[in-house]
């Protein structure tokens, strides 16, 4: 697992000065995202290498979902305003993705075998894919750039 380098983990005093999202609850979020990044990447790779022709659209989406998780994991671990925007974009795409793919997999079971992370709203993964972007957005809101208080999450 590529544990994001935490040299940037600030001491409590300077936590507010830097835009970080990798302390407190953010660490749990990053850890769960990392697990999903790894498993989604492995699964998509496996699907595309072994049975791509069966459902190309679903497996391409699988790969796309994996990419989104990787970007979310990395951007959450990095400090700064730019990475915040990247995180926000990734988490929003993820939310839209899980909702759209979830709906499509319910209505069009032929194009979408229930085999992507986002199929059936992530039912195969205990609905965590549906929960993650929501928690991610809450966390990003609480750690949005320009916010004053230095409460390191409760």
């Amino acid at each position: 697992m590529k544990a994001p380098n935490s040299e940037a983990t600030p001491d409590k005093a300077s936590a507010s000065a830097k835009d970080t999202r990798n302390t407190g609850p953010g660490r749990l979020l990053i850890a769960v995202y990392a697990v999903f990044a790894i498993s989604a990447t492995a699964r998509a790779g496996y699907q595309i290498l072994t049975k791509f022709s069966e459902a190309p659209l679903a497996y391409l989406l699988s790969a796309f979902a994996a990419l989104v998780y990787v970007i979310a994991t990395v951007s959450l671990a990095k400090p700064g305003r730019t990475w915040f925007k990247v995180s926000l974009a990734a988490v929003l795409v993820e939310l839209v993705g899980v909702l759209v793919v979830g709906a499509l997999s319910v209505f069009d079971a032929v194009q979408f075998p229930h085999e992507t992370v986002w199929s059936l709203f992530g039912r195969g993964y205990a609905f965590i894919p549906l929960l993650l972007p929501i928690l991610g957005l809450v966390w990003l809101y609480r750690r949005r750039p320009g916010k004053r208080p230095a409460t390191a999450g409760g």
Binding site: M1, A3, S6, T9, T23, G24, P25, G26, R27, L28, A31, V32, V35, I38, A42, Y46, T50, A152, G153
Partner: protein, 117 residues
């Protein structure tokens, strides 16, 4: 499901439970939670050695062999990674990170059983 799976099921659930309670009690990771995750690693190691012995003694893997080993190796990387990640920042949240290991290992062990049989 075989005995290896049930070992990881038990150890994983106990470990996740311990870490979850510690996190809820606002404790930072300590010897107990870190050792419980180490126990998960040990259970996976037993699975690894047992699987190697079974393959050498001629037992076939029903599914894709490389997929099985891939899962096992990845699962074994998780506990050390989580412990490292939790030592870097000793807050209650790191215990929740540690709690995720047992559950993840148990899901992966279930999948490995499906591949094997």
């Amino acid at each position: 499901m075989d005995a290896y799976f049930y070992i990881i099921l038990a150890v994983g659930l106990i470990s996740s439970g311990i870490c979850l309670v510690a996190g809820i009690l606002k404790r930072a990771p300590n010897d107990v939670t870190i050792l419980s995750v180490a126990a998960v690693e040990l259970a996976l190691l037993v699975y690894l050695v047992g699987s190697i012995v079974r393959v050498i003694s001629g037992e076939p893997i029903a599914g894709e062999a490389w997929e099985f080993w891939g899962y096992l190796v990845t699962a074994m990387l998780l506990p050390p990674a989580a412990v490292y990640w939790s030592i870097l920042e000793r807050t209650r949240w790191s215990n929740f990170v540690l709690a995720a290991v047992g559950v993840t290992a148990l899901v992966m062990a279930a999948r490995m059983n499906q591949i094997w049989y």
